[in-house]
Amino acid sequence: MDSASSDRTVPGQHLAPTVARSVKVLVVGAFGVGKTTLIGAVSEIDPLRTEERITTASVGIDPGQPNKETTTVAMDFGRITVTDDIALYLFGTPGQRRFWDLWAGLADGAVGALVMIDTRHLEDSFEVLDQLELRTKIPFAVVVNQFPDSPNYPLERVRAALDLLPETPIVECDARDRQSAVLTLITLVEHAMTFPVFQKVNA
């Protein structure tokens, strides 16, 4: 056992018995953008991790072969008990190309996604945004994670560079800060409420 992380795998952090519903939010973004940090900042449990073996179609390296390869995908997640009876789960998934197939499945039933952006490598986010729009219909908010050496672009310039729709929220955040991370979730849920699929009331 890895002693540094052994306390993270001690079971027993059960939800309160009153919790009878769960909702999820995805946290997506390019490599090293701060997904795990944000999840850790808001989660009431130490972030957990699962790994899944997936088979992906690899693109045209050898046209004669059935182009399949198996990779391991790690998913970080955390949870917040937001009311007596609702738990919110945050699932962080990598943005690399080979994991895109996983998104469609994970997006099913999600309230929305936080798309984390690092303005030092803005172009790394283009494909993540493209794929999210292409493969899912879920609401998303763009979260600009600020690093000490991040260029100080006004948000509207980032919005233009990412070619976001006028209604797509874009917010700055410090992923290490709980309140800052909570604000990104509030922004996302407010945005989701404007989507027709969430308009109906189900008691």
Partner: protein, 117 residues
């Protein structure tokens, strides 16, 4: 964190789930909440993993949490959970209406909760 620490064997999940590679219930998602039915003893034929799983679920947990604690893939745990639901050892606490998105009332409650954090 070390991505290389998990080593699966290609046939392992197949063997562990007695030959079924797909969950019998497609309603299970990583965030689905499950809990043990205390009054129902685990069948003597159940394996070590099934026992551990039921043990873990003495309080409510999401499927993904169960998978993380057991260090098994979510897809495999989904198969085990659906079998244990069928045998009456586990109950699904949430997602009674699978594939139904949360309504506006739920989102409002979530917002209220988040604003109080």
């Amino acid at each position: 964190m070390d991505t290389e620490e998990y080593h699966d064997h290609p046939v392992r999940s197949y063997v562990l789930t007695s030959g079924r590679a797909h969950p019998s219930r497609n309603t299970l998602r990583p965030e689905t909440l499950v809990r043990a039915v205390e009054s129902r003893p685990v069948l003597s034929t159940a394996g070590r993993l099934e026992r551990e799983l039921v043990q873990l679920c003495r309080g409510t947990l999401a499927l993904a949490e169960v998978a993380a604690y057991l260090q098994l893939p979510v897809s495999l745990v989904a198969v085990m959970v659906s079998d244990l639901v069928d045998s009456g050892n586990l109950t699904i606490r949430s997602n009674h209406q699978a594939h139904v998105l949360p309504g506006k009332d739920i989102l409002e409650k979530i917002l209220d909760g988040l604003r109080k954090l």
